[in-house]
Symmetry: D3
């Protein structure tokens, strides 16, 4: 199924279980999380790249994967991705490198899978 498929499947399954559990605070947090990346004064692509940079310096692989998918769906180019990686690397240091390797590997899978840029629906639960 590939990493993309596995990632999306597990995320959806678990998000569903978490939200069904009925903790209202967690439910609202998930909603706020989605809303933070909606276009405003800053456009959606720039926000996803910003989320990507923040995820890389905090070294959260799943978060990186998620923002790679979203940013690519919003048209981010290879140059934009690498300039984002460059900032994350400088800000966060060499401990970011392992996450950079996995990010580039995942981007390659994304490119193989949908060279024409098939859209992924946003944060579906």
């Amino acid at each position: 199924m590939g990493k993309h498929g596995e990632f999306t499947r597990f995320r959806r399954k678990m998000n569903k279980k978490i939200l069904e559990q009925g903790n209202l605070g967690i439910k609202r947090f998930f909603a706020l999380d989605t809303q933070a990346y909606e276009p405003g004064a800053i456009d959606a692509r720039a926000k996803e790249l910003m989320g990507l940079a923040a995820s890389m310096v905090l070294r959260c692989d799943d978060c990186v994967t998620y923002h790679l998918i979203q940013a690519r769906d919003k048209g981010a180019t290879s140059e934009e991705f690498f300039e984002t990686f460059q900032i994350a690397l400088i800000v966060g240091g060499s401990i970011v490198i392992p996450h950079l390797r996995r990010a580039v590997d995942f981007l390659e899978e994304l490119d193989k899978k949908s060279p024409g840029g098939k859209k992924t629906p946003r944060r579906p639960v």
Copy 2:
């Protein structure tokens, strides 16, 4: 063997090797770690949930797994777990979400395995 079995097996095997190596400072640190969760002015269950929250915000999956096992053994309910997750999520932000997903997945395995609440011995080496 399931994640629970694998986790416990590897933890025991490696803890044994680490302690056999003879570094006294590491040995004592392991002892202090165990003692910190013993009941005192704060009861053992609340301490395990506190350790769980601290582990989630620091995003340490193995630590989360460990405290899930311990807190459940000490009678933590589903509501208590989710209120702990809620605090960890608010304090630590969306980067906690991937760890929350894995925690909920692991809790489910724990529940299937021992619906009657079989006790796990504490930090055995």
Copy 3:
């Protein structure tokens, strides 16, 4: 005015400015933050101590200060505070020590100020 007074004054002033700016996502986050510590399956005092432990391991002095005030208002004893510090120290390591020093210093100021346990209103904006 003492650290307590300064902390509270600056927090209120800035929270007010932040919330007046009109960013709905930030406003809702602040509300969720307050709600996470309301009593539920876990009581309010245990939640504040949990927030304190999480703040210490993440080494956020202002967050530590805030939860010290709240937990003390909810009746946390010196023994409970030190058992919480003990867990934070073991989980987070020696880098927690400087925050522990400042926490103990602040607790002392709190005790001098209101030996009879004057209540502080919760998270006023």
Copy 4:
């Protein structure tokens, strides 16, 4: 002198001393740091806001201060700043709040000082 003046004075003085010491690796790192924010596929303002978000989630006050100055010089608006803060808050959690308070306080000082948007030279040593 205000926080802006103090910050800039200490930064320049210490950067000068650090670079004079003659460690080539540190010197080159400082150069790379400057270059990472130069306009490319992503424009300079978006890069500064990205650096700001990364600095907030990593909770580095001086880095936040620096990127606030730079982003404002490159024309960032109040709405853009608060959308960046919103993302940082969601990604990094409530421990970001103390840094958010200080950031908003500093922005206010910047606005008072140069309402017409006086430019600050970039990373001068």
Copy 5:
């Protein structure tokens, strides 16, 4: 192939792809990273152990693996490794333990593989 082989293969493959992409800032960062561990006033082995301690407290498994390989190539003994682990454990706390387990497991694989101390070439791209 073992963890060592897999780690090295993936690292080389991805480093090559990253450097071929042509982002000069990233390329230079990789060069600076290598240079930082070259012998100077501090010898190469002590620098690798320092990199190991820093990687452990930041909890970066791939970085730990890398410095274990390098330090062992430069003659680090079992006692030196465990004293480094001890410092990392005290500084970083119990969240370091899972990384310590994996480090000791990896060291064992290294010892089995090349008991005579076969040298690994440094950071080859």
Copy 6:
């Protein structure tokens, strides 16, 4: 009194209060912390520099200050300090820079105060 004096005074005063409080786990942790830097297979100076690097990447100013004092007492040279800073900078990224500035500023105060290398007693309570 200078930063050195203030730092030492507050540290001693608070350590005394913390240890007098009677929490055995915290007391033992403090003892383990001291023991970790005692000479063994790795000499005391190299251990202090290792502690310094770990403190810098974790961005703990008080810890950095402490290890600067100790390492200098054990004869660390300016070149050794800057090579340690270089590693910390590469591993931890540009967010280390503010701590580097303060470290260099503090080193200068240390040098002015005791050009002949007056010894500071180790971790006195």
